[in-house]
Each structure stands twice: as structure tokens, then as C-alpha cells.
Subunit: 417 residues, 2 copies
């Protein structure tokens, strides 16, 4: 067994500066008035993918692109009987996004693989660094690249259209890709997929902890709730004779929030959208629609709490004398990370001398799709102020490198004998 | 002193059918897909005004029009030393309105005056029945006719424009009216103005009471409240680390509602409008704006409660860690009805054998403006289901006539010696 990786040696070999340089360079490719915008199947995206391919080659990786535009850099292993240890993340951004979301996992993977190859030579397991395309839903639906790799990119995804009416298939074809069904080859040769990512939330920073080991990617239940009351004159209708849809919605939202808080744990609950009709200052609202977004990493807690919320909303509505429609929008099941990979990552953090803590990923990631075909593990580094998907997104260079060191040590433990 | 009016004799003389006929005929003049729409300074409005003028003449009233389009029917009194006893309401409608709001007070006044002239002869005080124009704000600002008569129609009102950019002055001029300032003659010759109106709320119907004697026209405070929080990812930000503008708004609204309900009495409080930004299902809202509409007939309670609401909102915002802007939109002071006219109307109800109860007018009426130049009193009759400003607006013919009888008896007591 090789000696574990050494942070001072990584720094002395200039990898920290290189990491910052890669992030800076990628941050220049795209358009947006505020923040970065680099959407899949665009000239900007292709340019960024080309830059990553070049860097991969400079570190000694063999590079190929698949038919959806994922860039895959590979170090061939000595043992063809064992499966691939893969890492990576995505190269596209939201509109007005930052320079770290996705990109850190891509260039961090390139640095980790390059460092390992240079310092430890050829691994037993092949190592792959993957730059996925279209993880954000900023042009089409999300997870295009990882869905393709997992064999989960269906007809519906391929025919979904952007705001100009261009489909995924048309956009891909225009750039020379071929999304034919017969070309989908579900990867069965990957043992583990490790994704390094910024937290996109405030937890690690607040805890002063440099490394989060993701326990699970949270599950999600989204619904639209429509409260049907009765419109009335705001001046002539006594309070106790109203069926006020807006006030009833307010009571329901407050009750649901209380219900979720009482349950404790990692659950988050958000009402992000609300709208009342007719929406006049002097008219009691007839209708009030709002959305709910409920997330928890525990499947049984999530579904139990969702049902409890529905029941609570019905109780509140009955008390207020209004009716509700509760329409489910989206259900995403939680994906637990591999226990073995969590242990490997925690051991890696300890080895390189970094504190770590378990954390739930409240957002979806490519690892979610890769879990269909491989064991997955995720490493989070802090996001300054918890900011993400905005131009303020930031993680200091030394904190980025800390994540890369944990990733590199974990890949070393998995890929080298 | 003459004998008091007699309901069976009014019925046997056919006034109930005539009242229904007038309301039906007026209900045919206007346009709207659902309900009635008759806006000031339109051909439809002029047609309705012409019909009313004709009916007035048929009952023996002398008719004139003033320069804003108010139709005034008059029975000259025997004593030129005493002031006018006036009644009436408005002839315009909201968009999609009903057949009773305003019109009942106009044609009810015509019937009452006609019945009195026919059965009691010439009064001591001159009696006027006024059909006001533009009380609803359906084309320009409201109260055009009664403001004109009270000398309160200012430059701002006259230059206000409809949705096509036509000003009040232009619309009036096109129909031959002349809204020159020098023609404004504030009426100083009116002793009392009595307005018969549908309640536009559910109180009388629920109480099973045919007559409401208005104690005051409510005062109103309207404001827009903007809650400033922080936008965050709905998945990655723990509940206790958020500054959720929408959830904070919900807590503030619930607290304000509780604050108003605790105060008891006639106060009504409405949040009719709410809007959150960015307004996405999976994003914690950065900003949430809502309106409040607070009404009470007691000036000191209204202003005290308004201040208490503002304080409560600030307390709630501070607890939630968000900031609020509180912008006043509109202040209307309450207008108490004349105690003498309330007593006269209550006595009139008793005389004609009808139960009555005091009631607050939660909406504005022409009486609000007429209070500037005369003592005012109002009689309400029930609105079926409390509905108004909609095609379902309805008051049965016998309930309409009951209001006319109370009005006629009160005018008799005031105008005849």
C-alpha cells in the first residue's frame, strides 16, 4: 500500500494555484449580466469543455467525449478485472450563477487525478474524471449528462425544448452529437463515483468545519395548494362572515411550518410562491394559491411528514370554512450515499488532517443519477455566506484545495492497491 | 301634521311594481359580459339619466341637470325660508355590477317623492331627488357627482384619465357639459341628505332585519407592507438559518389579524393582495409585499389600531430577523351620520312597522361627500347573500319597497309641517 497523500506536497507542487487558475479561466467563459451563464449545447459550453479536455491531457489523462457531450478523462488501471473509480461534476451553470458550483468538482477531479498519476503512478483501478453536461435546468431539464451515462435519458428528456423551442436533440445534433437511443450504453463498469462540490448552504461555514461528508441527497415533495374561499367587499363583510382565501392560506402555511419544525431533524420546508385573486387591496380574496417544497433525506420521514402536512392543511381549511386543492408537482426519492464511501471519505479527511462532519445535501447533484449505476459518495466544502447560484458564490482557494485533498486521498485508497 | 305614510296604500297604488319596473329597465342599459357596466360620460349613462328624468317628470318633479351630469328632480316647497330635504344615490355601476347598487336610492327617491306629492301635496321644504354620476371608480376616480355638488371636485379629479387617456373634463365636454371652475356652486341650501342603499354585505340578511340605519360611514387606512428577507436555496438552507420574507409576511399577517380580532367591535381588516419574489417553488423568497385595508367607524379606534398594527408588524419582523417597509396608501376619515337623522329614520321605520338596527357602512357612498354640506342619513336594505358589485346582486322587491317606505316617511317627517 502506498503512502497517503500529503497536503504540503500538493501545495509545494503548485496544485493550489493551478486549481484557482482553472476556476478563474472557466469563470470567464459564458455570458450573463450578473454572474455566469453557460448553458449546455452552446459555443460557450463547448469552449469550456475544450479547455477542460486540454487540461486533462496536460495531466496525462486520455480524453474522450460521449454522445451527450460529457468530457471523460481516464487513467488506465493495471488490473482490467476491477471496475473504474470515477469522480467529477458538471460544467454548465444556472443563469447568473457562480464560478464554483459544478466546476470545482470537475477541475478538482482533474487536479486529484493528475496529482495521483504524477506521484503514485499507474493505479490498479482505472480512474475517470467526468465533466458532465447540463446538470442545471437552465436550458432544458437537468441532469442531461449523468442521466445519459446512467441510461436514464428518455424520449421526454431528449424532446424537451428550451425557451426558443429548440429541443435537446436538435441542439445536440447542431453541434455534431448523436442522441440516438441505440447509442445509449449504460455504464456498468463503474465501482464508485465521488463528487466534490460546494455546499451551496451555510452549514459548514457556520460550524467552522472544512469538510462535509454527504450522508444522503435529500428527497423532495413539491405541491401546489389552492385555497378556494369567497370574494367579498373588504368594507362591508364582517370578519366572522368571511371565507377569506388569503387569510386561510396564511393560517395553513403557518400551521405547516409549525408542523415541520416540530418534527425536528434535517427537514426543510419552503413556501416560495404565493398569489391571490382577484388581488385587490379592498377585496377579500376568492382564491389563494401557494407552493410547498418539503425535503428530507429519510424516505419514511419525508413521506410521513408530507401526509401529515396534507392532513394539517385539510384540518385548517375545514376550520376556516374554505376548500383546498392539493396538487402534487414533483416527487424525488432521497438517495443515501454509500456507507463504504462515506467511511472512505471520512478516513481520507482524517488522513489529510482535516475535520469533517456528516451533512445532508439539500440540492440534487449528478451523484443522484450516478447512484443508479454505481456506489456514490460526496464531499462538500463551505460556501461563503451560504451563497450559491449567484455571482457572490465563493469558496476560498485553501478550502477548495482541502476538498481536493480529501477527494485525492479517497481515490488513492480506492484505486491503488 | 299629516298622517304618517301607509304601506298597504303604497302597495295598492302600484308603487312596488313601479319600483321593480324602474330597476329592471335601468338594468337593461349598459354593457358587460357578466353583470352590468354603465360608466359615467357614456351614451349608456346618458340614456339611463334620460329615463330617470322622464320618470321624475311623470311623478310631477321639475328636472334639471347640473354641469357634471347629476339629474336633479325637485318639488318646490311652500316655505322659501327653509332648506331642501334631499335624497338620492348614483346611477353609474362598477364593471360587471348589479342592478341595485346606487339605482335603488335613485328610483326609490323618485317613488318616495312621487308618492308624497300625490298623497300629501306640496311640502313645506323643497324636496330634491338626485341621481349622482360617477360614484364608482369604474372609469375615473369615484364620487364625481357628489364631489361636484359639495364643491370638492378639484383640478386633480377633473384631469384624471380613464384607461384610454381621456380625462374627466374631455369626456364631459364631449357630451356638452362644462366643468369650468367658475361654474362650481357649492350647495348651501340643503338641510338633510338621505340615501337609501343596499347593504352590500351580509349583516341584515343574517340578522333577519329588513332595515339598517347607518350610524357612520367607516373610515379606512390602507397600506402596503414590504418584507425584505434574503433569498436562499430551498434545499440547502436549514430552517433556522433563513430570513424568509414570505414566511415572515405570513407571521405578520396572522399577528395583525389576531390583533384586530382581539379589539372586537366593527373593525374589519383585509389582506387582499400578496406577492413574493423571486416567486419560485424552490427558492426562499427575498421579498414579500402585501396590502392591508383596515376600517372602523370610530376615528380614535381606527388610528389607534392602525398604529398598533404597525407596531405589531415591526415586532414580528424583528423577531423573524427581516426588515419591513410600511407605506401608507390611503386614509379616509370616518363620517358619522347625523344623530337627528338617525333618530328620524328609526322613528320612520317604527311608524311603518318595520324592525331596524344600527349598522356601519363599510363602503363609501355619495353621502360621504354630501356630509360636507348637509346633515346625512342612510337607510340600508338587505343584500341577498351579502353579494354586491356582481351580477348576483339582489334584493327582493318587497325588501326594496320597505326601504322606500322608511325613506318616504322620513322625508315626510322632515319636509312637511
Amino acid at each position: 500500500m502506498n503512502k497517503s497523500i500529503d497536503v504540503p506536497s500538493i501545495k509545494s507542487q503548485g496544485y493550489e494555484q493551478l486549481l484557482s487558475y482553472y476556476l478563474e479561466e472557466l469563470g470567464k467563459v459564458g455570458t450573463s449580466e450578473v454572474g455566469l451563464c453557460r448553458r449546455p449545447f452552446t459555443a460557450d459550453y463547448e469552449k469550456a469543455a475544450q479547455m477542460v479536455a486540454t487540461w486533462m491531457r496536460e495531466h496525462g489523462l486520455e480524453v474522450r467525449k460521449d454522445e451527450v457531450g460529457n468530457v471523460i478523462g481516464r487513467i488506465e488501471g493495471t488490473n482490467s478485472q476491477v471496475k473504474v473509480i470515477a469522480t467529477g461534476s458538471h460544467l454548465d451553470t444556472v443563469r447568473g450563477g457562480g464560478k464554483y458550483d459544478g466546476m470545482l468538482g470537475v477541475v478538482g477531479g482533474v487536479i486529484a487525478a493528475g496529482y495521483l498519476l504524477k506521484n503514485y503512478g499507474q493505479p490498479e483501478h482505472s480512474i475517470e474524471v467526468i465533466a458532465f453536461t447540463g446538470e442545471e435546468g437552465s436550458r432544458f431539464g437537468g441532469f442531461l449528462g449523468s442521466k445519459w451515462m446512467a441510461g436514464a435519458l428518455g424520449e421526454k428528456d431528449i424532446n424537451s425544448k428550451d425557451e426558443k423551442g429548440i429541443s435537446v436533440k436538435e441542439a445536440a445534433t447542431a453541434l455534431g452529437y448523436n442522441l440516438s437511443e441505440e447509442l445509449i450504453a449504460v455504464r456498468k463498469d463503474i465501482e464508485a463515483f465521488l463528487e466534490l462540490h460546494i455546499e451551496q448552504g451555510p452549514v459548514l461555514e457556520a460550524a467552522g468545519c472544512p469538510i462535509g461528508i454527504v450522508s444522503a441527497i435529500t428527497g423532495m415533495r413539491q405541491a401546489e395548494v389552492i385555497v378556494h374561499g369567497r370574494t367579498d367587499h373588504a368594507g362591508t363583510t364582517p370578519l366572522n362572515m368571511r371565507q377569506d382565501a388569503l387569510l386561510s392560506a396564511v393560517k395553513i402555511i403557518k400551521a405547516l411550518d409549525a408542523c415541520v419544525r416540530q418534527s425536528g431533524g434535517d427537514t426543510v420546508f419552503t413556501v416560495g410562491q404565493i398569489d391571490a385573486n382577484p388581488g385587490s387591496v379592498n377585496v377579500v380574496a376568492e382564491r389563494c394559491a401557494f407552493t410547498i417544497d418539503l425535503r428530507d433525506p429519510d424516505p419514511s420521514k419525508l413521506s410521513g411528514l408530507y401526509e401529515k402536512c396534507l392532513e394539517e392543511a385539510r384540518t385548517q381549511a375545514a376550520q376556516a370554512g374554505v376548500k383546498i386543492d392539493w396538487q402534487e408537482i414533483l416527487t424525488v426519492e432521497p438517495v443515501p450515499c454509500s456507507v463504504r464511501l462515506r467511511e472512505t471519505l471520512a478516513a481520507a479527511a482524517k488522513t489529510v488532517g482535516l475535520d469533517c462532519q456528516p451533512i445532508v445535501s439539500g440540492a440534487g447533484h449528478d451523484a443522484l443519477m450516478m447512484a443508479e449505476i454505481a456506489a456514490v459518495g460526496m464531499v462538500f466544502v463551505p460556501s461563503a455566506g451560504g451563497r450559491s447560484h449567484c455571482s457572490e458564490e465563493y469558496t476560498p482557494a485553501d478550502q477548495c484545495l482541502a476538498g481536493v485533498c480529501v477527494l485525492a486521498e479517497a481515490v488513492r485508497q480506492l484505486a491503488y492497491n
